[in-house]
Symmetry: C2
Subunit: 356 residues, 2 copies
DNA sequence: TTGTATGCGTTATCAG
DNA sequence: CTGATAACGCATACAA
């Protein structure tokens, strides 16, 4: 038995009315007699009638659902963002369709095609680290599909964007290391094509330059696949460790890289921060419980998801096309522990945990 | 400008053909001349035609999308499961619509109504901790909607289910504590109405009974909202700590509870495992990096999502109704560190990390 | 080989 | 106040 749903027709037949009368009664139209309305409403309730959203979509040219494309769902930052997206969507009666690119342009493209062609009213995207050609997004946007980018944005497309102040986050993190006496501060980054990679490295570089510290080329290692490929991170870390003299600190530029880096160091039995200091972007719910010497830069992922969705729904529901697009830049939170935060830091710091 | 899509009509008009001819050409029907096919295909490609999934859905009475309801997306276990769900869905050309109940029956119900009424072809559910009345799920299922439950299942509904061997996981974890000399082993659990709570507590109780250890009623504390309410976990932990003599170990029965418990203990400056041992279910990507004394029971979340989806797609795509439903029970993984695993443990254990 | 007509569930327009 | 009909985009039975 296939799932057979109750339609307006069933009600009409049962009550000896026409479908249009039933339709109007259900929408509480003024032209229907109270008596008929009562009858219809009661019967509809009784047989558990729900309007068919597909038919509605066909009619109204909208589906009340939005698409989301991220690199991977099982990543704290993205899952928190999706949480925020779902929250706003839910309160506005929208469904959320998620898909992941797994950092592959091809897959991103397939998902895009999949979601598009009007099964969604709008799209929220954090682009894959592999993507360099954004013409498909641009075309889609220019053909009228509302799109909001978050975190990994496409600068060249003029639409709403939601980001954190990556530059400032990386800058402050690096300054923190400098203030605490570290001299050879290396960095591990994602794909060069990502907006966040560029911004964060810029902050890192600025902090070093300002402190008069050296920055040999070999101090910066890229992971083109964002650490999604197994050996990518361990290779990068290995290369950093092979430098002579060895760096005494590492700045990890993304969630995945921070945990990956920490994992590699532990496996290699390199103590953090005794042997080498580590500071990185991370949204894991457990970072604050790990090794007390790990400081992290936390992004307001949930809020980013909320804001992106609010902006998207505005675009979808506004009568006239939107011409002014904004870029919301939120402050990340530098959570410093075990050692004190630099004096005058504008970041909130959490309560130091017990020393054991 | 609203997003206006290309339809079969546009192609027909441009090429001076009828819509049916175009439709058939696009579907590579045998009745269309190669020449016409070429023409249509070329033009469709050129103007970037994509069939309207809504119209298709209305016609074929299917949407090629599946719904997912979980307690919260930003929970490692669930986000990993969703990862698995999306993987299988993607490879079969299905979209995934997610929604979260936030452990609220009401919200679960609203999402259910929302997804149902044929905007989805099937449903994957892990029920909310608050839900005790499953009649809506049952009715829906009986009316023909394919449903697969995972993790938090509804035993009374006869459909496919995917779970981990909760009993065995909790049993082995508790045995591990006993073997390592702990005597007063307490437990912190989710809502009593959840299948997993019952199974896991049963495993815990069995292990204690078998070891001849006492189990006063006060040793088991429930968090009806699964720890989603702020003070729920800290209150439960406080109550356990107030017992005289104080328990020397705690078994945490779910993801959320394990991290919550750990957080409370750290805040209270209670060392794990020096002051009190902790072992719990957890799927966080970082558990293995936390305090080396924390042992965890890890669920194969990704695989569970994959299997649930595979079963669901079978139900959706099978011609005749399925009458035989299976319950897949997977083995969890007990990851023991810092202290050795019990002799003869059938669980894989990971490599001990460096002592500091 | 191609075109015409119909239906999927709903609402809007027009007629009673 | 209510009913018949067209339309949304597509696939298909039936005609030609």
């Amino acid at each position: 038995m296939k799932f057979e749903a109750v339609t307006i027709k069933d009600i009409a037949k049962a009550l000896g009315l026409s479908t249009s009368t039933v339709s109007r009664a259900l929408r509480d139209s003024y032209e229907i007699s109270p008596e008929t309305k009562r009858l219809v409403l009661e019967y509809a309730e009784k047989i558990n009638y729900h309007p068919n959203p597909i038919a509605l979509g066909l009619k109204e040219r909208r589906t009340r659902s939005i698409g989301v494309i991220v690199a991977e769902i099982a990543n704290s930052f993205f899952s928190q963002a999706i949480d925020g997206i779902e929250s706003i969507a839910y309160h506005n009666g929208y469904n959320v369709i998620i898909s992941q690119s797994r950092e592959s342009s091809e897959r991103e493209q397939i998902n895009l095609n999949y979601l598009t062609s009007r099964s969604i009213d709008g799209l929220i995207v954090s682009v894959s680290s592999e993507t360099t050609d954004f013409s498909n997004f641009r075309e889609l946007f220019e053909r009228g599909m509302p799109i909001v980018f978050f975190d990994r944005i496409v600068s060249e497309i003029k639409t709403h964007k939601v980001i954190v102040d990556s530059y400032q986050g990386a800058y402050d993190a690096t300054r923190h290391l400098v203030t605490n006496g570290y001299q050879r501060i290396a960095a591990i980054a994602s794909s060069e094509s990502l907006s966040i990679t560029r911004d964060r490295l810029a902050g890192y570089r600025a902090a070093l330059a300002e402190s008069g510290l050296a920055l040999p080329d070999e101090y910066v290692r890229y992971c083109p696949h964002g650490g999604l490929i197994q050996t990518e991170i361990s290779d990068a870390v290995a290369q950093l460790l092979a430098i002579d003299p060895r760096p005494d600190a590492i700045v990890a530029i993304s969630d995945k890289l921070t945990t990956g880096c920490l994992r590699v160091l532990k496996t290699r039995q390199i103590a953090v921060p005794q042997d080498i200091a580590l500071i990185g972007f991370s949204n894991s719910d457990l970072t604050e419980l790990i090794d007390p010497a790990l400081s992290i830069i936390k992004q307001p992922a949930f809020e980013m998801g909320e804001i992106a969705t609010t902006l998207l729904l505005q675009m979808i529901e506004s009568k006239r096309p939107i011409t002014e697009f904004e870029t919301r830049s939120l402050a990340p939170q530098l959570i410093v522990r075990a050692s004190s935060a630099p004096a005058g830091s504008r970041w909130e710091t959490n309560v130091p945990l017990t020393a054991r």
